[in-house]
Subunit: 332 residues, 2 copies
């Protein structure tokens, strides 16, 4: 039996999803000879630490009832540095202004010889190459499948499943909120404002939707993709971005009459990094509806490979985090 | 530098594709510290052997000019058993009557402690569990990404990228020929006979198309998928199969009016293994056209993940073989 000790830093929707995913796969993992233990959980109010493995069911209940998992005052950095474990799951909220507290947490993890698995886009959209270097310098893994495409394993597809291929370009829809709004506008001839309101009522869009509808979230994801795949050192500010706020139902109707849909497409190719509304033929593999995310990878040998799935949701994001944890377990 | 020695058994379209793919990635691999050498190639007329690495450009030219790569009389089994190397690429033609010569080649490879990477469906559609056991008994890898979906990395997606997920069901279009025929019938209101003739003229369908249009090729692929993913021990004869030969343009037109397309869908779920024409909503991720292949994987955590790409072609199939070779290099 291989014991793997994990901390969960940040216990919001994603962190809790990770706890649930670990709970639901515990038996299967033990059958595979993997004893996956969460030895530390921290949220903004404090932490729980247990070297023998935290009772995740109880931790989830306590969080639900008291709004915090805290049993002691230790903060994230103390857990990362002082608790003996192998993998830090960094799941604090995305902050695209300065990447904190995610960046500090990740650098602290690397500095203390721990692998990092993260869903936190901020640090990667701002300081990707520094983080990658810190991981390499310390001889540990840095995995971030959950930062782009939610449950869709885009990085694993490119780096492992398509190993040997040279990636020529990537196009995709990497934001479920804008895809939902555009899909509803086209299907029901809604105005942008009405479709946004519906999305907000369903919890698909935030009260302040600008991060999604202005294309910033898409730009962050695109930059992480481009840096990872093409070895670039871009930040999200290098992306040419146009959002969806000025799209009219009339434009969508005209597109539809010509067998097109309008989608907020992210594109990374030879030097280009753009996020903009584009006409996509209805039959094209990129023309997925609802809140789906999709990525289409153009390669030299395999040609075009397209993958789609749920781009958000706590258990879906946790699926990507879990697959990254298991990658590290297999390869270390 | 890690030296990895490979034999290519079978030097038809796929085997030659593998040689071309290795040639075109040679420099990138060397940058990654991998010296991938082909030390033996065999076709039906004989072999070339070179412990220092065969000149692949010359081998491909000789094959083109003389119809064979043969420089000596050694046959496949002699190369597999007697030439020192790590990985056997088994790329002989699929034979679904008795799986030969593929089965014997694979068992010989396992028996002499060599990993197997294959595109050959026959042995796996007939004797999957025996082959898997032989690989395990000898402590070597058995990889077969190229047997299903051409360039589409379905097995890698399920076993590695979605690691931690439980697969609930799989649906897909796993045969490009029938997809092309059905797409053309729907788009151009062609009869089955006319669309088949067009596909034959374009080299998409064989002179004797029964293996494709009766659904046998799809059944073979489905059974390999089900055995690999659900740990079953089925053969392609366990699949309930209906082909596409009785579909009329009128049926397709009626479907289209109701926003459906008809596709030859492979389905593996709780105990079921079926290949049959099915109505698929035009907006559904499975509704891909032309010769594309697609697989939609329903999982407990990630939800539904759909992947599509080219299902045939020698360089595309070689892409899957190369990614399997690199998986073995990374993990051994």
């Amino acid at each position: 039996m291989k014991t793997v000790r994990v901390s969960i830093i940040g216990f919001g929707a994603v962190g809790q999803g990770v706890a649930k995913a670990i709970l639901s796969t515990k038996e299967t993992l033990i059958e595979q000879g993997i004893d996956l233990r969460v030895v530390g959980i921290s949220d903004s109010k404090g932490s729980e630490i247990n070297a023998g493995g935290i009772d995740l069911k109880r931790a989830l209940e306590r969080k639900k009832q008291k709004g915090t998992v805290a049993k002691c005052k230790d903060d994230a950095l103390e857990i990362i540095k002082n608790v003996e474990h192998e993998i830090v799951v960094e799941a604090t909220p995305t902050n695209i202004k300065n990447g904190e507290p995610g960046s500090s947490n990740m650098f602290a993890a690397f500095g203390s010889g721990k692998h990092v698995v993260t869903s936190n886009k901020g640090p990667l959209a701002l300081r990707f190459s520094e983080l990658k270097e810190a991981a390499e310098d310390n001889g540990v893994f840095f995995r971030y499948e959950a930062t782009v495409g939610g449950a869709v394993p885009i990085f694993n597809l490119i780096h492992e499943a398509l190993a040997g291929n040279r990636v020529i370009g990537i196009e995709g829809i990497l934001n479920g909120t804008t895809n939902y709004i555009l899909t509803r506008m086209a299907e029901e001839r809604l105005t942008y404002e009405l479709a946004l309101k519906e999305a907000q009522e369903l919890g698909i869009a935030e009260t302040d939707p600008s991060y999604d509808v202005e294309g910033i979230d898409s730009a962050c994801k695109l930059v992480i993709l481009a840096n990872s795949v093409f070895g670039r050192a871009a930040t999200y500010r290098d992306v040419e971005v146009t959002g969806i706020t000025k799209i009219t139902p009339e434009a969508l109707e005209l597109a539809s009459k010509n067998n097109y849909v309008v989608k907020l497409i992210c594109e990374a190719g030879n030097g280009t990094l753009t996020v903009a509304p584009r006409l996509v033929p209805k039959k094209h593999p990129l023309a997925v509806g609802g809140t789906l995310n999709v990525a289409s990878i153009l390669t030299d040998l395999a040609g075009r490979i397209t993958i789609s799935g749920k781009g958000a949701g706590s258990i879906e994001t946790a699926s990507s985090i879990l697959s990254d944890i298991l990658y590290i377990v297999r390869n270390s």
